[in-house]
């Protein structure tokens, strides 16, 4: 927003959409490559290359293909999901401070997932329950913030923060009532942690499907970013589009939360940085968010698992350390 307020054009705007996407895709591949190369156990570059060619010794293969690769792919998918969810929320609210974490979607999804876990349910039920929690949170925040008047950024943020705090209290209550020996695991899970994630394929598939689904909606989202009345006057079916965005953002958040717990600020930082660089065409920003969010989380997770190895940090700590200053800066700049 800083550059925006000074009236400067985004650095790379108007260069078409394929060049920036190609650059981001390359960066994503580089980050994935790095995450495969480093870890608490050392795998030499030659050994890594051998593994990637389908050779190499059993230990290196296990380390790279069965431990690092699935985890890095999960990180990529979760980062992409959160960044796209954040970008959608921001368009919908025309507010760069919107983010699934800040607005309580992550909190709702966490409550849903924890409730399912406490009830002893697993797998798809946890995802469904997380989705229900995220959706309920969306309804609460947007229903209440809309109220009788109109959405204002401060009103919406305030509602989101209060709802998020409410979910925080529910989570604390659930933790207090859950068996004491499960507490440490649940707390770590709430911080956002990829070491618990299993197969990367469901979140990756969802990310791909949503990106394809959003492509034809891109221009409508651009028009929505000018406000609902203007969008309606230009032929957008505002209500159905708004609901689509709500549902999609809830689904993305729920999938991210069930894969890796609640990871903050990716949805805030990534779209913001990309807008500064690439302008505000959603047809470019949304796929760019998927790539850049994935890249960021892969790098953050690589840090989390190597910084003080063998002790492992939750990746949410790293993203929060990056995100909190960014968020405060944004809030400060936006009056």
């Amino acid at each position: 927003m800083a550059a925006a307020e000074l009236g400067a054009r985004p650095l790379l705007a108007g260069r078409g959409i394929w060049l920036p996407l190609a650059v981001l895709a390359l960066a994503g591949c580089a980050a994935l490559g790095l995450s495969l190369a480093v870890g608490s156990a050392s795998v030499s570059p030659e050994a890594l290359w051998a593994v990637l060619r389908g050779e190499g010794d059993a230990l290196s293969r296990t380390l790279v293909l069965e431990l690092r690769l699935p985890r890095s792919l999960s990180a990529f998918a979760v980062g992409g999901l959160l960044a796209v969810a954040g970008a959608l929320m921001q368009v919908l609210l025309r507010n760069p401070l919107a983010d699934p974490y800040v607005l309580g979607l992550s909190g709702g999804a966490s409550v849903g997932a924890l409730a399912a876990m406490l009830a002893g349910l697993g797998g798809a039920v946890i995802t469904g329950s997380a989705f229900a929690g995220a959706f309920l949170s969306t309804l609460l925040v947007f229903g209440l913030a809309h109220g009788t008047g109109s959405w204002t950024p401060s009103r919406l943020l305030l509602t989101g923060v209060v709802v998020a705090a409410g979910w925080g209290a529910v989570i604390t209550l659930m933790l207090a009532l859950s068996p004491a020996e499960r507490l440490p695991g649940m707390l770590y899970w709430l911080m956002g942690d990829l070491s618990y994630s299993r197969t990367p394929w469901p979140p990756l598939a969802l990310l791909l499907i949503i990106c394809l689904l959003l492509m034809p909606l891109g221009r409508s989202l651009n028009v929505m970013a000018r406000g609902p009345l203007q969008a309606a006057a230009l032929g957008v079916n505002v209500r159905p589009l708004e609901w689509t965005i709500y549902l999609v953002a809830s689904a993305l958040t729920a999938m991210a939360v069930t894969t890796a717990g609640s990871i903050g600020f990716v949805g805030l930082v990534v779209p913001h940085m990309l807008r500064l660089l690439l302008g505000n065409d959603q047809r470019l920003i949304l796929p760019a968010c998927a790539l850049a969010g994935g890249t960021l989380l892969v790098l953050a997770d690589t840090l989390a698992r190597t910084m003080i190895a063998p002790e492992q940090l939750p990746v949410g700590v790293i993203t929060a350390l990056l995100g909190v200053p960014t968020f405060l800066y944004l809030l400060y700049r936006s009056r």
Binding site: L59, L63, L67, P184, G185, R305, P310, E311, Q312
Partner: protein, 289 residues
């Protein structure tokens, strides 16, 4: 021809030497040969494997594995809540001892998916301490030592049980933590020890294993003895807290006792020593009536 015979012999030996044990998730874990490289993913598991006579085979532990002292020299692979799988796999263990409620289920499943057998433990009772040692010894091929340790532990606990079988009941409050104030119920291992010593756990009927309570609940229960573990091996502050309530029977009779937490809060053979101390303290309380 000779080679064939030899390899055939080898296979036969492996089968003859294969060993199985039922873990605490009721699954049968079988090894083709005794484990030689064991990873223990909780401090309690480390202690039990050493007790089972297989300490020399432990190649990986987690943080706070401080007993026996030799365990401190073993490579750590993170904490029990978040294991560094890479470091663990690099050490190439052939048996991993997992803690059902302490380790992340997802990580234990990943380890199994990588082909490393996981033996899940969750010792919750006096008897299960002994059987866990026996089962671990079976998997590690150290039955001689492990069975002795288990037998000694059983005999010691049985002797205590006999000694205090007819003892007068003592209303006892066991304080497992101070802020927040926590006790244990009858299902808990410590609850079992209190019962064995002729104590009556005043919070034994609560439904949670480790219930959170407040001072008021303790005042209402008016225990005859207050027993506290503590942080590290010190707890003066925990017990002096109760002296502000002279009306409590336990305070009036000076029945405020300390039991080193590492001896009673961990489900390991050291529990025998902890139980002896607790029983003696309750006997002291009986003497002060």
């Amino acid at each position: 021809m000779l080679a064939l015979v030899l390899s055939g012999l080898g296979a036969g030996e492996a089968r003859a030497d294969s060993r199985c044990a039922i873990d605490d998730r009721d699954r049968e874990v079988c090894l083709e040969a005794p484990a030689t490289r064991i990873a223990t993913l909780s401090p309690g598991a480390t202690e039990l494997v050493y007790a089972a006579g297989a300490g020399g085979k432990v190649v990986a532990v987690v943080a706070y594995s401080d007993y026996p002292p030799e365990a401190r020299q073993v490579t750590s692979v993170g904490s029990h809540t978040r294991v560094d799988l890479e470091a663990l796999v690099s050490l190439q263990p052939d048996l991993v001892i997992g803690w059902i409620t302490g380790n992340p289920a997802e990580q234990l499943e990943t380890i199994e998916a990588l082909g490393v057998p996981v033996f899940y433990i969750e010792p919750r009772s006096i008897d299960s301490v002994a059987t866990t040692i026996e089962r671990l010894a079976r998997l590690a091929g150290s039955e001689a030592e492990g069975n002795d340790v288990a037998a000694e532990f059983r005999a010691g606990m049985d002797a205590l049980a006999d000694e205090y079988a007819a003892a007068e009941p003592v209303a006892t409050f066991y304080q497992v933590w101070d802020e927040p104030l926590m006790s244990v119920n009858d299902e808990h291992l410590i609850g079992e020890v209190v019962r064995l010593c002729g104590g009556v756990n005043v919070f034994g009927e609560l439904s949670r294993l480790v219930p959170r309570i407040d001072d008021e609940a303790v005042l209402a229960a008016d225990p005859e003895a207050i027993v506290a573990g503590g942080m590290g091996e010190e707890n003066r502050h925990w017990l002096t807290h109760w002296q502000q309530y002279p009306g409590l029977t336990a305070v009036a009779r000076d029945n405020l006792f300390f039991v080193p937490p590492s001896l009673i809060q961990r489900p390991t053979p050291r529990l025998l020593e902890g139980s002896r101390i607790l029983c003696e303290k309750l006997e002291v309380a009986r003497g002060r009536r």
